[in-house]
């Protein structure tokens, strides 16, 4: 055979084409579609725990990777202050002025558009709160109930006069429609609730019973009034107390995610704030829709004040992180909060998870390295979690008189966050938030590159490579958007916030 020219028979050529075509078929088959009915059925989960990545392990009830001493943990009174209570009036006056002055400078990340959108992102939450989403009462029904009972669209004389859609809006519970209240098994209820929260803009949902331990994760007070339980049909608030019916023995914990590109938009500045506030507004919308939905099904649900990170960890939505927030396998710490709905709809009980993420924080500390306010404990000063809270003599942020019990609680083994130092940084630098920690956490990626899944699956099995992965993440440069985003973000929406080809949205 010639050294420079290789002849191939027609048979061999067609065979090669066939093998190549088989490869195309394999590539198509590798795309994430359902291969059979069993896979389709299991994806619409009725199980207590959502379907998580394969490397996530479940633990026993209340056996979280973040140790909790249920004998020490007490219901928090809900009194929170991460700035004013730690400063003299003189210092408050000086620092507050820094915030106001910055708006006049019009710097990158502090443009007119950034200020306007940061404030607009908050507004939806304010609107929903105005109509009672956070109230411990039935006021949402009182405001939004439908005043036209069925049959819809009919005058008293029996003549139809409008399409029913025009008068069948608003909340219509079973006692009005005559349709029997939905009754399902706990597993069916779990699936229904999950479907409803996803329609309403939420993500994963897990469930817990409200027992003598989990009740400690609710606050004792709301708006200066005690939150108590009584045997009543509906929740109510009067001048003395906020009352949750004792029939509300089940808790649904729903994760509300953040837009990743917005969260990584070069915090701390007004641009990066918008991801948080947009997500807060989403919490308002999801809460509102779920309260209306459950009332329409014939069930009671309230969303009382609580320790939402603790609910996420105990229910298995997430693990505890060094930066104080929860870390979910699907999105890292890039979720804003969990909605905690206390209801009388029966649910199964979810279990805590172990994906090696909290253990990774022992040897990572990237968030602490980059924290400009020294609010997060770095691994040199505290490698492992501790039962201690922020010391009263901590100097980060230059407090006048630090009162850490106003933002830390006892009873859990974690890395205490100096919330005053964090909030004070925002004030002194003229932002409504920071978010460097969220933008740069090793687990907070877009998850397009396969290396992220590889790292997550390895850390779930062994901690031996955690230090290497931390160094590699820094070297590879993962974290916030590239520097050019500062000038481009408002002028290249297709690059940073592309709409979904089929759904037409970008959440």
């Amino acid at each position: 055979m010639s050294k420079f020219h290789s002849t191939i028979s027609r048979r061999d050529f067609m065979k090669a084409i066939g093998v190549g075509a088989a490869g195309v078929g394999a590539a198509t088959a590798a795309t994430p579609v359902f291969r059979d009915i069993d896979e389709l059925a299991s994806a619409s989960s009725v199980a207590p725990n959502e379907k998580r990545p394969w490397f996530v392990k479940e633990r026993d009830y209340l056996d979280t990777t973040c140790e909790i001493d249920w004998n020490v943990l007490k219901r928090w009174d809900g009194v929170w202050d991460d700035w004013a209570a730690h400063l003299s009036q003189e210092e408050m006056n000086i620092r507050a002025k820094l915030y106001t002055d910055r708006e006049l400078k019009h710097e990158p990340g502090f443009t007119q558009m950034d200020y306007a959108m940061s404030r607009a992102s908050w507004m939806a939450l304010s609107a929903y709160s105005k109509y009672g989403t956070d109230n411990i009462d039935d006021s949402i029904y009182e405001v939004f109930k439908n005043d036209f009972p069925p049959p819809y669209g009919y005058l008293p004389n029996g003549n139809a006069f409008v399409p029913p859609i025009f008068v069948s809006q608003g909340i219509l519970p079973p006692e009005v429609t005559g349709v029997p209240r939905w009754q399902g098994t706990p597993e069916e209820n779990a699936a229904i609730y999950r479907t409803a929260t996803r329609i309403s803009g939420g993500a994963q949902t897990h469930f817990l019973p409200l027992d003598d331990r989990t009740v400690k994760l609710l606050t004792t007070n709301k708006g200066g009034k005690p939150v108590v339980f009584e045997d009543v049909p509906l929740p109510y608030t009067n001048e003395d107390k906020c009352v949750i019916p004792t029939k509300c023995k089940y808790v649904a914990v729903t994760l509300i995610t953040q837009n990743k590109a917005m969260a990584k938009n070069q915090g701390p500045d007004m641009a990066a704030n918008q991801a948080s506030y947009k997500a807060y507004s989403q919490t308002g919308k999801t809460t509102f829709m779920m309260r209306c939905f459950m009332r329409g099904l014939g069930y009671t649900i309230v969303y009382p004040p609580q320790l939402n990170v603790a609910w996420a960890v105990v229910s298995g939505i997430a693990e505890q992180s060094r930066m104080k927030s929860g870390m979910a396998p699907e999105c890292g710490t890039l979720y804003r909060k969990c909605l905690v709905g206390v209801t009388d709809m029966p649910f199964p009980t979810s279990m805590p998870i172990d994906a090696g993420m909290m253990k990774f924080c022992f040897d990572c500390g990237k968030c602490a390295d980059l924290c400009p306010s020294e609010a997060i404990m770095n691994k040199e000063e505290q490698r492992e979690p501790t039962w201690e809270i922020t010391p009263a003599d901590a100097t980060a942020g230059n407090p006048t008189h630090l009162k850490p019990e106003l933002f830390n609680i006892h009873g859990r083994k974690a890395w205490p966050l100096n919330q005053f130092a964090c909030m004070n940084y925002w004030v002194e630098h003229g932002t409504d938030g920071c978010g460097i920690c969220q933008g740069t956490c090793v687990f907070n990626n877009f998850n397009l590159s396969s290396v992220h899944g590889l790292v997550a699956s390895v850390v779930s099995k062994t901690s031996l490579l955690n230090g290497f992965f931390y160094e590699a993440d820094k070297l590879w440069g993962y974290g916030n958007l590239d520097e050019e985003s500062r000038d481009e973000f408002w002028f290249k929406p297709d690059k940073y916030l592309p709409t979904d080809k089929y759904l037409g949205t970008n959440y």
Partner: protein, 97 residues
């Protein structure tokens, strides 16, 4: 259906299918002996190359261009070294015979 991902991986699969078929035919036609560890080096090199390609172009989609280039310089170079070894070891032995 024809997203960037599917187009890229379809082309890669097509090329792999043709390439592997021709490689095996070449080995048989020339009676080249390939030992098991040389096959293993070749498979690892190929997987590392595919890993590099996937992480390179998705790094740009994640706004992490630096990560993409570092993948080329690290796992990409490593994959080429392994593939070169896998090709050259049997080739050298064959010429020596």
């Amino acid at each position: 259906m024809w997203t960037t991902d599917i187009v890229i991986w379809s082309l890669i699969s097509f090329a792999l299918g043709i390439g592997i078929t021709l490689l095996i035919q070449l080995i048989r036609r020339n009676n080249i002996v390939v030992r098991w560890y040389e096959w293993l080096i070749g498979v690892i090199g190929l997987l590392l190359l595919l890993f590099t390609i996937q992480n390179f172009y998705t790094a740009f989609g994640e706004f992490s261009s630096k990560a993409g280039w570092i993948f080329l310089a690290t796992t990409g170079v490593a994959s080429f070294i392994l593939l070169a070894l896998a090709f050259q070891l049997p080739n050298i032995r064959h010429r020596a015979q």
